[in-house]
Subunit: 144 residues, 2 copies
């Protein structure tokens, strides 16, 4: 926890702007036709990581209104990517799980994300690659 200098902050700001732009373009180019919108994709991934979760869990995690999440769930069910069942113990709740097709969609999504990470790493030499991973982990892991 060392306070960065003004100059460092500005350097990173500029570098990150170019960085973001570069990978936004790459992501747009990779988008396929039957791609999910951002919310649906994040919802699907969350359900994949939290099988049996309820709608409210996803809504809280992704910070959207419950009705918005209801729509997203509807879309994912309609496309057979997830299943929505009432639970036994609390019959108000839903238990959400991904289908086989949903699992495949997640895998595709992860593969695309991974490809972006690969492109990032390819710009660096081996020592730098490990260093970037280490620094990213350190930043991601620090509590606010």
């Amino acid at each position: 926890m060392t306070e960065p200098t003004q100059v460092q902050v500005e350097q990173l700001t500029r570098a990150f702007e170019r960085f973001t732009r570069r990978f936004k373009v790459a992501e747009a180019a990779a988008a396929t036709d039957n791609a999910l919108n951002a919310l649906d994709a994040e919802t699907l991934v969350f359900i994949g990581n939290n099988p049996g979760c309820g709608m409210g869990d996803v809504a809280r995690y992704l910070n959207v209104a419950l009705t918005t999440m209801s729509s997203a769930i509807d879309r994912l069910v309609r496309r057979s990517l997830i299943e929505r069942r009432r639970t036994e113990d609390d019959r108000r709740s839903l238990a959400l799980t991904v289908t086989h097709k949903g699992r495949q969609a997640i895998d595709d999504h992860v593969a695309a994300y991974r490809e972006l990470c690969r492109i990032m790493l390819r710009s660096l030499d081996p020592r730098e690659q490990d260093e970037l991973i280490r620094l990213t982990e350190k930043i991601a892991g620090t509590q606010a």
Copy 2:
């Protein structure tokens, strides 16, 4: 240009997921009431950096339909953040410039972005801070 290993790619993928989540939450928390949506904000920033540019320039840069950009420009003009004038030399074209109020909005936007960068850097010690900046610049600068 060194091909990263499978393990490295997966490490970075996981680290980057946590990283992205952490800063998405931070960004959501920073969002104010009169905030612009993503397209409008990017449009405003581009016009700030390219005063006198035309609508097509922005649309091509941000990779959206011309009619979408027309709507975004409308919104920004309505909120007095930019000015839209016909040019002398080509009277089909618009010359877009930010207003004083628009410049302030950009400054606020940049300040928020910079604050995110500051939070990232604060997680690191001084040598790591410089290293992160260097690596980000290197990745951002590499041609696809």
